[in-house]
């Protein structure tokens, strides 16, 4: 029998009002060292990526967010009790460090989209390519357009960082320059600073009306749960 793991928590020794988990299974707490893991029994070796399963996973993790800040496992984490115990015991210092980072915080998500005009993009076709020179000029325009988009995306990322740097404990930013300029940021925000964070973001929208913003949150700190741990497990550093 495998276990489906939802999240790791600290200072929780009992559950109340936890929704059913994947496949309608009851969720329970499994104590490992000073931590506890929310798990449910799982009969198969494979977890199907379905809307229902993904939402069930999210609902279970979110259900403890009001009382503690969990470290969510990624969707589809199947383990035996022994594997879970070994994993946690082997990475105890790194997990403690992760909890120190996220304790008392939630994740706020921001995606910034900017539609570039054809004049700015410099990638629009200038007509049929009729010669090698025309082809090379076209390629040069493409390259310059890509560089321009990357520069603009980085500028937006820097500007966004400056807006909230005093309100965030940590951030993860992904810059994806494309036809639609996209900056995706996850901010780790102390719970008592959320109102101020929201006000700041509302003001940011007013400052940059040419940008489109997508805000969501608060989330469990999905984006802050794993980086260092992943690196250590990948490269065998303890």
């Amino acid at each position: 029998m495998k276990l489906y793991a939802y999240c790791l928590v600290e200072d929780v020794d009992a559950l109340d009002a936890i929704p059913l988990g994947i496949s309608g299974a009851a969720v329970r707490l499994l104590q490992v060292d000073e931590f506890a893991v929310l798990v449910s029994n799982f009969d198969s070796d494979t977890v199907a990526v379905t809307r229902e399963n993904a939402l069930d996973h999210a609902a279970v993790v979110r259900s403890v967010l009001d009382r503690t800040t969990p470290l969510p496992f990624r969707f589809g984490t199947l383990v035996t009790e022994q594997q879970l115990s070994i994993y946690i015991s082997a990475r105890r210092p790194a997990l403690q460090s992760r909890f120190e980072l996220v304790r008392g915080c939630v994740e706020m998500s921001v995606k910034v989209i900017r539609e570039l005009s054809s004049d700015n993009s410099m990638t629009e076709s200038q007509g049929e390519i009729t010669s090698g020179t025309t082809f090379l000029e076209e390629k040069r325009r493409e390259i310059r357009g890509g560089e321009q988009r990357a520069a603009e995306a980085n500028d937006i990322s820097t500007w966004l960082h400056e807006q909230v740097e005093n309100l965030t404990r940590d951030e993860q930013v992904t810059v994806r320059p494309s036809d639609k300029l996209v900056v995706a940021a996850a901010h780790l925000v102390a719970r008592d600073k959320i109102p101020q964070y929201k006000e700041t973001m509302a003001a940011a929208r007013e400052i940059r009306p040419e940008l489109h913003f997508l805000f969501s949150g608060p989330w469990p700190p999905y984006s802050f749960a794993n980086m260092e741990l992943e690196f250590k497990s990948q490269f065998g550093v303890s």
Binding site: V49, R51, A58, F73, K111, I113, S223, N226, E230
Partner: protein
């Protein structure tokens, strides 16, 4: 589903239910603690990383469509 968020804003025009789902998938599938080698998922032979990228692209594309209709 939409009740699980305090706020979701893409300007003023958005179906927050759809967006909530996309944002949830983006977080759940792309992020979180990984126990190396222990994740096995299935979705019609599409692997998790591929699906995750599509979720992000989908959310952007959908936002783009909404903005174009304004």
């Amino acid at each position: 589903m939409s009740s699980s968020f305090d706020q979701i804003i893409v300007n003023e025009e958005w179906d927050s239910t759809d967006l909530s789902l996309l944002e949830t998938l983006d977080h759940v599938l792309n992020r979180g603690l990984v126990i190396a080698g222990e994740i096995t998922i299935s979705v019609a032979d599409i692997d998790l990383i591929f699906l995750g990228l599509n979720v992000l692209v989908s959310s952007v594309e959908t936002a783009h469509e909404v903005l174009r209709k304004r």
